[in-house]
């Protein structure tokens, strides 16, 4: 900074007028955090995926008429939503942001959980608007799938960084869909488990919880020198 940027007040002059008080600092901080994570664009992407879900169900975009094949395209769209959530964990600030106060972990937690909820809502709305066609397992299956996949994405973000974390949910879903068609029944492949299946819901829930925990504590991996 050059000295021309500084001004010394004239002797005997009055002090500069006080800056206006920041109203609602918590909200302001939250908004700035969300803006830094491009959450508005994330919401737009989730809305777009909701529309894609509607189109897929309305026009019967399926790989088959029964069982796993009928669910393949909706599950992939759910994975897309999870990928978008994972990408939103990317922070351009890196270390300076980490070396701050106590609010950052809670902001990360709230953003991840909130976006997961929005994703479920957007996809459910898309599915509902395609009535009479709809998701075979209903909204509960959607919640289970999106939560579990989002958890995978959050875990992937801790390893690869936010921008590449989309590979995690999409890779898992591609493998899971193969398992579905082959009839593998592991609860670890929760997208293929029947509705109201406790094992699948538990696995998805645990993965989601793990992803939230890692995001809260560590956040996404910082890319070096970005």
């Amino acid at each position: 900074m050059t000295v021309t940027g500084l001004r010394t007040p004239a002797p005997g002059g009055s002090a500069a007028p006080a800056a206006p008080r920041l109203r609602w600092p918590g909200l302001r901080m939250t908004w700035l955090f969300l803006a830094s994570r491009r959450v508005p664009a994330t919401l737009a992407a989730l809305a777009l995926l909701g529309l894609v879900m509607r189109a897929a169900l309305y026009w019967h975009w399926t790989l088959g008429s029964r069982g796993a094949a009928a669910q393949a395209v909706p599950v992939l769209i759910e994975a897309g939503a999870a990928a978008v959530i994972a990408i939103s964990t990317y922070s351009p600030m890196g270390e300076p942001e980490r070396a701050t106060g106590r609010w950052l972990p809670w902001l990360r937690l709230a953003a991840a959980a909130g976006l997961t909820g929005v994703a479920v809502g957007a996809l459910a709305a898309g599915a509902a608007s395609a009535a009479p066609a709809g998701l075979a397992g209903g909204s509960l299956d959607l919640l289970r799938n999106v939560a579990g996949l989002a958890g995978l994405g959050l875990l992937a973000a801790a390893v690869t960084g936010g921008l590449l974390a989309w590979v995690g949910p999409l890779g898992y879903v591609m493998l899971a869909e193969i398992g579905l068609v082959a009839g593998w029944g592991s609860p670890l492949l929760w997208p293929g488990r029947p509705s109201h299946d406790l094992g699948g819901a538990l696995c998805a829930g645990l993965v989601f919880a793990a992803g939230l925990l890692v995001t809260t504590v560590r956040g996404a991996r910082d890319p070096v020198h970005e």
């Binding site: 664009a41 975009w61 399926t62 769209i77 978008v84 590979v167 999409l170 890779g171 591609m174 193969i178």
Partner: protein
């Protein structure tokens, strides 16, 4: 101390990047630093669990095994090829190097082409490596024929086109969401959007390699018809040129007027190629195997009949491929199969033998059974269809039973040996005693109207009885839908009773009755009450 007085730093060893032409060196840089190879472990896992595992469930027939390349391997690759290509395409935007690359004399488009090419090359390397594994294993197991190369070529062209689409999306929209949205969008559109846009039965559907399914025995009885493959190749090449041309014409490409003119020509040529391919696809029609003649309106072809595109059709592909069938004599009847499917001969013989013994000596009983090309059996009224495909036919003088590779459990890998045998038995029984009512092409059961149902019921009863006689109980017939006729429930119940009664007769008595009344039965002149 001035700069000139500072002690000299030790000279570093001379660093000499390898020499080579500019284009190759740009490409080499991009190949070395491409993120595509990082997806190889995931692609290998997908390959092992999906296309490879599926292919190993198919018979070791080259074209059947090769069908997993566009139908399974490509969809598995689509997500990651498009996503990584979009990632690479958005590199300059994400890394803030736009100013640096836009102010160089070499147009930015040149660097972009190198980056796209590197991504595509790695994707194709992975695809070819997987293909090599699949073809290598098949070579050790196949009993006839050789590897088809058209599916490989077309699949590689589709990978290049998909990579171009993803790359251009990333370059034009270098946002953080472009990669996954492009990946998901490409997967959904390539598999479903295309087919839903043009209709599954539309001729234009042949343009999509991932959704066009050749017959189970494509390339076996007749040479693999290259018409559709050539058209697909033209379409994909045109699409690739158009997409990359759009990138070159963008303001940020750095192309001068001369290069822009060239890119415009490329884009126009690509558009022309793609539109020509679409136009040619519109002329595609199914034909009887070995011909390019369209079917008659009254004899529609099955879905497995090959597609020909007249402008691209080569008459040489209509010449049958010579082969010596492999035969086994059962009940004094030679049962033959194409050597490519010889592994199934024992099962085919085991299936047809009992029925041939039961009908031996009766009017119209086949004196030979043989495999014919898929699509060569024209659906006829009263014929049993399986999944929309004619299941079998008795024709000629002396009568011979013809069946196709559709009965071979190529794609229904949930079908057990037992189911395969019973369905082939039902096909022979259905051809021997046709039910006399047309079945929809979808394979749903035929539903006779009230007027014809009483005439159909006796034939259904005889079919059921013959199957009971060879050891297929009524319950199994129901479960597997072997009798593809749905009578009114009361009439069906009567037919079942009559069938069990008829099957319970001594074999000689049953044989004698059939010998006297078979012609009348087939003509619909026998009632249920008249059956013993």
């Amino acid at each position: 101390m001035t700069a000139t007085q500072l002690p000299a730093r030790p000279r570093a060893a001379a660093l000499r990047p390898p020499s080579g032409g500019t284009a190759w060196r740009l490409l080499r840089l991009e190949l070395r630093r491409s993120p595509m190879p990082w997806t190889f472990p995931l692609l290998a896992a997908l390959f092992a669990f999906d296309p490879y595992r599926t292919a190993m469930g198919y018979p070791a027939v080259w074209t059947i095994r090769a069908s997993v390349l566009p139908n399974k391997m490509l969809p598995d690759f689509v997500v990651f090829v498009v996503g990584i290509a979009a990632w690479v395409g958005s590199r300059d935007g994400r890394r803030h190097t736009l100013d640096l690359v836009e102010m160089t004399p070499r147009p930015r488009w040149a660097g972009q082409l190198a980056a796209w090419a590197a991504t595509t090359i790695w994707a194709i390397v992975a695809f070819l490596a997987a293909t090599a594994v699949l073809y290598g294993v098949t070579a050790a197991q196949a009993t006839w024929g050789g590897p088809p190369w058209w599916p490989v070529i077309v699949s590689c062209a589709e990978l290049a086109a998909l990579a171009a689409l993803g790359f251009t999306a990333g370059a034009l929209f270098p946002g953080r969401f472009t990669a996954p949205l492009a990946a998901v969008g490409a997967f959904v559109l390539s598999l479903e959007g295309f087919n839903n846009a043009v209709g599954r039965s539309s001729a234009f559907a042949v343009l999509s390699p991932t959704t066009y399914v050749p017959a189970n025995d494509a390339g076996v009885f007749y040479p693999y018809p290259p018409d559709v493959a050539i058209d697909q190749l033209m379409f994909l090449a045109g699409l690739t040129a158009v997409v990359l041309g759009v990138l070159g014409l963008a303001r940020s490409s750095g192309a001068g007027p001369g290069l822009r003119r060239g890119v415009a020509v490329l884009t126009a040529a690509g558009t022309a190629a793609a539109l020509t391919a679409v136009g040619l696809a519109g002329t595609a029609r199914q034909a009887l195997p070995g011909t390019s003649q369209p079917p008659s309106a009254t004899a529609p072809l099955s879905m497995q009949a090959p597609w020909v595109i007249p402008a691209l059709h080569d008459a040489a592909s209509d010449q049958p491929r010579p082969y010596t069938p492999v035969c086994q004599t059962v009940a004094a009847v030679p049962v033959c199969i194409h050597p490519a499917f010889r592994i199934y001969l024992p099962d085919v013989a085991a299936a047809l033998g009992p029925v041939l013994r039961v009908v031996a000596g009766l009017p119209g009983a086949p004196v030979r059974a043989g495999q014919v090309a898929s699509g060569s059996l024209v659906p006829r009224s009263g014929q049993v269809n399986v999944g929309g495909l004619p299941a079998g036919e008795i024709s000629g003088t002396p009568p011979a039973f013809s069946y196709t590779a559709d009965q071979v459990p190529a794609r229904a890998f949930a079908e057990s040996r037992g189911m395969f045998i019973t369905s082939l038995q039902a096909a022979l029984v259905g051809a021997f005693v046709p039910a006399g009512v047309s079945q929809p092409a979808t394979g749903a059961p035929a539903v006779p109207d009230r007027r014809t149902a009483p005439a159909v019921a006796p034939r259904v009863a005889v079919q059921e009885a013959l199957l009971i006689d060879v050891g297929v109980p009524l319950a199994t017939q129901r479960k597997q839908g072997l009798i593809a006729v749905q009578l009114p429930s009361a009439l069906q119940a009567q037919a079942d009773i009559v069938a069990q009664r008829f099957a319970g007769l001594p074999a000689a008595a049953r044989h004698a009755w059939l010998a006297r009344h078979l012609a009348a039965l087939r003509a619909g002149h026998v009632t249920l009450a008249q059956l013993p």
